[in-house]
């Protein structure tokens, strides 16, 4: 079978490109090496919708950041994804630091970011009472926001799927070669033939590009570590609090998440291994130390987990967007590090447009815009909860006590289009297990529900990847 487009990678970029491509009359396949969407950088980042003052004027980062910031709100409404324009502050603690704020302000104006202003100490503290009282001035960006990166990726992939985009998971691309007018994409699960390819492989995008193009790229994975806190202190700050950017990036932030937790991080460390998402003692200590420079009273006993993600930093430090010079039909979305999440909707439209032009594809006239209805039970009123229960008794059965996730939501996450097949898959779709007990109580129940729904034994149920089983044997089986 000949596809019109193969998208490599089902992170936030690949999923959004697939969704935008689905607006055209094209036969599309997404290949993903992991067992689910949103398994790479998209699942371990700050979840910030940047306003755009930070990127170098004239760079692709600046361009797609500012457009993406504008597009994000409507897209999140359309896809029913948690999004909030909570505004952001960059803090300066002295007059000399404030000089950098002015530079950021100028840069923001050049990038056409709206609403930027320098706030004085009193205004900052009035806005954010928990901020370090030594603050001098801050750059306020009202267009800054927060988004749930899991939901954004999942929802985009789901809408793509509803529009007949195919997805193959556990499928790793090993070679690409040309055969006549088509590409042959060789994977661990056979060969796929396509007229065009979109490379959205995150930290591995250089490897994919270098399989077929002579214009070589190199991604230097840059690790960032985070601490996530209990929702009980999710309102410690309402804006996203940045420190002055350094050559290593935007620095450690303190922010509420779109799901209502408090998040601090990331630090920045180049690593050799593209699979290394381990946390380190020094890294976490650095994150805490630096976060406390912004908000000095962060209550550490409320940490519920620490994690790390990799930024796909290309050596030229800008996005690479578009068709490879030497390989017609091969399109890159490469080097997508921060502000990549913000830029995703804009990059997706651009790439889809380029591919459609190349293939002279027509716009589809029966594109399905919305995904199937999702329920977030915890956020509903008592009356709404009861109404749902009257329709489906499974809303009366609470599986995850910390996040108040019902059996109905868990079953839906498994049964819906591109449903969950792993415990982490259920967690990202429903939040079950992402609360303060970190799945201590609900993970056995979720393993059981998955086993039942997928017709498997409990020993076959996975956390996320193929070897990540929970249970190894039966009691006394080797005695």
């Amino acid at each position: 079978m000949m596809y019109d487009v193969i998208v490599i990678g089902a992170g936030v970029i690949g999923a959004n490109i697939a969704r935008e491509l689905a607006k055209y009359e094209l036969n599309i396949m997404v290949l993903e090496k992991n067992l689910d969407v949103c398994e790479g950088t998209s699942k371990a980042n700050s979840g910030i919708v940047h306003s755009g003052y930070d990127a170098k004027p004239g760079s692709l980062k600046a361009k797609y950041n500012v457009i993406g910031n504008v597009l994000m709100e409507d897209l999140c409404k359309e896809l029913v994804v948690p999004f909030k324009r909570n505004g952001s502050l960059v803090l300066a603690f002295s007059e000399s630091e404030s000089a950098t704020l002015k530079k950021l302000l100028d840069q923001g104006h050049k990038n056409k970011v709206k609403g930027l202003a320098i706030l004085e100490k009193e205004a900052i503290i009035a806005k954010e009472p928990n901020i370090n009282k030594n603050v001098y001035q801050a750059l306020y960006a009202p267009s800054g926001g927060i988004v749930d990166p899991f939901e954004l990726t999942l929802a985009s992939a789901e809408v793509a799927f509803l529009n007949d985009v195919s997805f193959q998971f556990g499928t790793r691309v090993t070679h690409i070669y040309r055969e006549d007018d088509a590409f042959m994409v060789v994977t661990n699960r056979g060969e796929y033939k396509s007229r065009t390819i979109v490379n959205a492989a995150g930290v591995f995008a250089d490897d994919i590009n270098n399989l077929i193009s002579d214009t070589k790229y190199r991604i230097l994975p840059r690790k960032g570590e985070y601490c996530l806190f209990d929702k009980q202190i999710g309102d410690l700050v309402t804006s996203t609090i940045f420190q002055l950017p350094t050559k290593e990036g935007k620095g450690v932030l303190v922010t509420p998440t779109a799901e209502g937790n408090l998040l601090i991080g990331p630090n920045s460390e180049f690593v050799d291994d593209k699979n290394d998402t381990s946390t380190s003692e020094e890294g976490i200590r650095e994150v805490i130390r630096r976060a406390k420079q912004s908000v000095d009273n962060i209550p550490m006993p409320f940490v519920i987990t620490a994690f790390a993600g990799l930024r796909a930093t290309e050596k030229n430090e800008d996005f690479v967007i578009g068709e490879a010079d030497d390989v017609p039909g091969f399109f890159n979305a490469l080097g997508i590090e921060s502000p990549g999440l913000t830029a995703a909707p804009a990059i997706a439209i651009e790439i889809a447009h380029m591919v459609a032009q190349k293939l002279e594809a027509k716009q589809s006239d029966n594109y399905i815009i919305k995904r199937n209805k999702t329920v977030h039970f915890e956020s509903l009123s008592i009356k709404e909860k009861q109404e749902l229960f009257l329709k489906d008794k499974n809303y009366g059965k609470i599986i995850c006590r910390c996040e108040l996730v019902t059996l109905a939501e868990i079953l839906d996450s498994i049964k819906r289009p591109l449903g969950a097949k792993t415990v982490d898959g259920v967690k990202r779709r429903t939040r079950a297990g992402s609360g303060r007990c970190q799945g201590g109580f609900c993970s056995p129940k979720i393993v059981e529900i998955l086993a039942k729904e997928l017709g498997k034994d409990l020993r076959e149920i996975l956390k996320s990847s193929e070897k990540s089983t929970y249970l190894i044997g039966l009691d006394k089986d080797l005695l």
């Binding site: 381990s278 987990t305 229960f389 008794k393 009366g396 303060r436 929970y470 249970l471």
Partner: protein, 419 residues
């Protein structure tokens, strides 16, 4: 909306004992709300014996201990709802709950008894560096898999933390055919009961590595190994002592946290030391008519004491319903030198009560120290103990006659003294 005299949140050992004692104190309009599918709470998965030594002078298993209370609840026709999750309690004592049969339930209670128990501290709270593979379980979660579901989480196990559940699971996993390589405890002493160290580790030649911790988790998909290191007196790992220990499973038994999310939502004052509500000797919280008992109040090491404590809560709640509580005046109880916390934090000035129990934990290991009770700086009690450790809850009695002898009494202090 339903109206009830007493609503008990939680049908574990605390909730059951509170219900029975409230009934015997003359209130029969009682409703127990339990989120799991049977009464008995965590006892149901504690299939080892050793429960009830104090209470029944017998060695019972967890389910047997629970059964004694569940049977009484049935005999007394005390009403309960299973698989019913309380989602909110309000300051004016509405309890909002959900279940599969009725949906949202709104109950106006005259009194509420909090008996929600506790949860285990997860890995995230420890910040153990490394990967996040599968194969890392809290000891209680592993206990559920092994004892209730019949599945073995792994074959080569390292346990971090020497809390009682971890010790119990070291023995259980050994009996089920797994190899438990070691139990690491960051402190120089165990957080568990002495008897569990003997019966669960020593008897099976499982090494207990005191002053050791895990500094790294290895394995991308399933855990493959941990790095174990000795710690110095400031609990900082000593790099040169690092050791790579292969395993397919890591169990965490690193502390229990009272489950007080509902309590906090209701605006009840929490003791930062116990993470449980602050109560007086009637076990009443900062909201009149709301009582707390068991592990939601402070983490106990023996269920026998949970039952005793809960009986008081049940009795006082019944008296609150019947308007027969005598006094609101109270004396502050102060956790003095060497004492991490006390429960209760106040003693009610009620001359009809001959003695009040104060339970406390010490903040370190103390050998041959004296436990002293001072009433406004005057010693009323002074007794030497061979050893005091944070792992074992202590208790003392405050006698009414001491209080009666001091008409100006303001505070009662519990402290440790060297002589």
């Amino acid at each position: 909306m339903d109206n009830r005299d007493i609503v008990i949140i939680g049908g574990g050992p605390a909730g059951l004992a509170a219900a029975i004692s409230a009934y015997h104190a003359g209130v029969s309009d009682i409703l127990i709300l339990e989120r799991e599918n049977s009464l008995g709470g965590i006892l149901n998965q504690c299939i080892h014996n050793g429960f009830g030594l104090h209470k029944f002078k017998e060695e019972l298993t967890g389910p047997e201990y629970a059964e004694r209370y569940v049977d009484q609840v049935h005999e007394l026709n005390i009403e309960y709802k299973l698989e019913t999750m309380v989602i909110d309690i309000t300051e004016d004592k509405h309890v909002i709950a959900m279940n599969e049969i009725e949906g949202v339930i709104d109950i106006k209670a005259k009194t509420i008894i909090l008996a929600m128990g506790c949860r285990e501290r997860p890995r995230g709270a420890l910040n153990i560096p490394g990967n996040r593979p599968s194969g890392i379980f809290t000891a209680g979660t592993a206990q559920k898999y092994v004892n209730i579901d019949g599945y073995l989480p792994g074959r080569e196990v390292v346990i971090l933390g020497s809390g009682d559940i971890g010790l119990i699971m070291a023995r259980r996993l050994t009996l089920e055919g797994a190899k438990v390589k070691m139990v690491c405890e960051i402190l120089p002493y165990s957080g568990g009961l002495k008897r569990n160290i003997v019966q669960c580790l020593d008897d099976y030649d499982i090494p207990l590595r005191l002053s050791h911790t895990i500094t790294k988790i290895h394995g991308k998909e399933r855990i493959e190994a941990v790095t174990v290191a000795k710690v110095d007196e400031f609990l900082k790992p000593i790099k040169e002592t690092e050791e790579y220990v292969t395993c397919d499973t890591l169990l965490l038994s690193v502390g229990l946290i009272p489950e007080n999310e509902l309590t906090r939502k209701a605006g009840i004052t929490i003791n930062p030391k116990t993470q449980g509500p602050i109560v007086d000797s009637n076990l009443e919280t900062s909201i009149p008519g709301v009582y707390a008992c068991g592990n939601v109040l402070h983490v106990h090491d023996l269920v026998d004491y949970v039952s005793d404590e809960a009986s008081i809560a049940g009795q006082k709640a019944a008296m609150f319903v019947k308007n027969s509580l005598i006094s609101d005046d109270k004396f502050a109880v102060i956790a003095g030198k060497g004492v991490r916390y006390t429960v209760p934090s106040w003693i009610i000035d009620d001359s009809s009560i001959a003695m009040s129990i104060i339970r406390f934990r010490v903040d370190g290991v103390y050998k041959d120290h004296f436990v002293t009770i001072k009433l406004d700086n005057e010693k009323a009690y002074h007794k030497q103990k061979r050893i005091l450790t944070p792992g074992e809850m202590e208790q003392v009695m405050i006698l009414r006659k001491w209080i009666d002898a001091k008409p100006e009494l303001k505070t009662i202090e519990i402290l440790l003294e060297e002589d």
